[in-house]
């Protein structure tokens, strides 16, 4: 899995390529933790992601909580159909802001 972090003022985008599994999710968590504290609008770009397990969903939930705590927003970009399915089956589609 690869992560490209782009920070612009108070906004950060984490563009991931690959699979978000129990093995790779900690890397995403570390990348998000490494963003400066003033960054409150957090976006995860899933355009190049073809698999997300519950370990990945845990990072999404934690990131959403972090954004709320910092008074900002959390957005998921462009999940593929299979990834959207797992967001749907867990009910997270109703909670997250998702741009398809």
């Amino acid at each position: 899995m690869e992560i490209k972090t782009t920070i612009d003022g108070t906004a950060a985008t984490f563009a991931i390529a690959g699979k978000l599994t129990v093995q790779t999710a900690p890397e995403l968590e570390a990348a998000i933790d490494a963003a400066p504290e003033e960054v409150c609008n957090l976006t995860i770009d899933l355009s190049e992601v073809d698999y997300v397990s519950s370990a990945g969903l845990r990072v999404f939930v934690a990131t959403d909580k972090l954004a709320v705590k910092r008074g900002g927003t959390f957005t998921l970009l462009h999940p593929c159909a299979d990834v959207y399915d797992v967001l749907e089956m867990t009910g997270l589609v109703d909670i997250f802001t998702i741009e398809r």
Partner: protein
């Protein structure tokens, strides 16, 4: 005309024994995918099976052997009619029924959503059947995926 499916047996069983360690997840997936591809299992069904296997595999790695490491046996039974695979995950660790773990209830407010607990819910919804047995000191979790 040659029938490309002629060499695919109507029932086949394959077994893999490996350490119950997270790092081995790729080996489990590769082991199952090779046969699923031969049997032309659609990618979507493979994806859903991967979701369930990852969750159950992680459970074994995390909970089965609290005092150290142990092994996990993955036994797959493939059938052509109906096109399906039954995957049994077998460990000899402490009794642990993943089906009794509460599924996370996702609430409308992000503050109330638990950070963990989504895994078993996803596993259940990704496959056609899931069951647990404790037999002769082993935990056996069986999942069935049809396509």
């Amino acid at each position: 005309m040659l029938n490309p499916d002629a060499d695919i047996p109507s029932v086949s069983v394959a077994t893999l024994v490996l350490p119950a360690e997270i790092e081995e997840l790729d080996r489990v997936n590769e082991f199952i995918h090779a046969e699923l591809n031969r049997r032309r299992c659609p990618m979507r069904a493979q994806y859903q099976l991967d979701i369930a296997i990852e969750e159950l595999f992680v459970n074994v790695c995390s909970y089965a052997y609290p005092d150290g490491t142990g092994t996990l046996t993955v036994r797959c039974t493939y059938t052509t009619d109906p096109a399906s695979v039954a995957v049994e995950l077998i460990d000899t660790g402490i009794p642990f029924d993943p089906l009794t773990r509460p599924g996370a209830a996702v609430s409308a407010d992000i503050a109330d959503v638990p950070i963990g607990g989504l895994g078993i819910l996803m596993a259940r919804k990704s496959v056609d059947e899931m069951r647990y047995e404790r037999v002769d000191g082993s935990n056996i979790v069986t999942i069935v995926k049809r396509w």
